[in-house]
Symmetry: C2
Subunit: 190 residues, 2 copies
């Protein structure tokens, strides 16, 4: 797909067809994701692929519990705006997507946020290029239970940076409105 | 350009033709960059466009001074590996590129690293799609002089997250080697 088309087709998708994403396609997407730049070409990202509904449901429940605990401890946190929906038993943080990919990076890596976001951009474009939808679930990076993280296969010196849901979209809405670029200054020699 | 081709053509470019990038093209690239996802669709990125060689040279000198100061204060910092090249008067942090775009975000925005990196990915793809080269200059985000930041037009409550150089590449090297994706775990229902 042409890039100009792709930036319009890559949308945050939260409503998926009940159709599994073949593992071979996930491998192809991760192959594309390798080409993301990273600080000093460190290529630090590691991936957990979750294709099991029971697991995704467990991770949603634990994310909600962890987030509600954080909100209780710090009621002025920006997370507090989510308190109501997080208390809703019917709300799945991962929107019942058929697949969840957790992009993990070393906890002590200064460039971890940047490196994981660049990998996430490649992953989301590669998925959109194959007709798949994705959504970065910020609320999904608050998992804290060491047993859960261990069961997921995440080493104790790594963290979940970017949880991305993946699946076949029920629909791809048109590109959303964006404000004009905010240009603070143009420093020109002329 | 097809996305599969684009991920191979988007390379870190540090050697540029002495050819100015038209401002109209920069505006087109920033228009594409608007479509980057951001946490809660906050669209927080703001841009400084530097097309003046004297300015870029000043920012390089100040970045080097600031970095050498940090290394002196903390000799075990990972930055210390750059001490030798940063002391070289002939080294320009921004590789004498004809253009530098500074992506800035609010200092107090928790998702600032992620949001700016996603915008940077869009910017770098959009540039590559137009035959331009880019390179994210991590060393360029260490500018500290408040007067310089003010002269750049960056509000005191914002920071430089992603400094990206931009120009016409002398050559586009073939895609660099990457290691295979590191998959920590596949949690499957089958």
């Amino acid at each position: 797909m042409d890039f100009e088309e792709l930036i319009k087709r890559r949308r945050a998708i939260r409503d998926y067809l009940p159709k599994e994403v073949p593992l071979s396609i996930i491998h192809d997407i991760l192959d594309d994701t390798r080409f993301a730049p990273s600080a000093r070409n460190g290529q630090p990202c590691k991936f957990v692929i979750v294709r099991d509904k029971t697991w995704i449901s467990r991770l949603s429940k634990e994310s909600k519990a962890s987030l509600l605990k954080k909100i209780k401890e710090n009621p002025t946190s920006p997370l507090a705006t989510y308190a109501s929906i997080l208390s809703d038993d019917g709300f799945n943080v991962f929107y019942n997507a058929p697949c969840l990919i957790l992009i993990c990076v070393p906890k002590d890596l200064a460039s971890g946020d940047y490196d994981s976001a660049l990998a996430a951009a490649y992953l989301m474009f590669s998925a959109a290029n194959r007709g798949l939808g994705t959504c970065w679930i910020g609320l999904g990076s608050h998992l804290e239970n060491p047993d859960t993280l261990k069961d997921l296969g995440i080493p104790s010196d790594h963290r979940i940076a970017a949880p991305i849901i993946l699946g076949y979209p029920k629909e791809i809405p048109p590109a959303s409105d964006r404000h004009d670029p905010i240009i603070l200054n143009i420093l020109d020699s002329r």
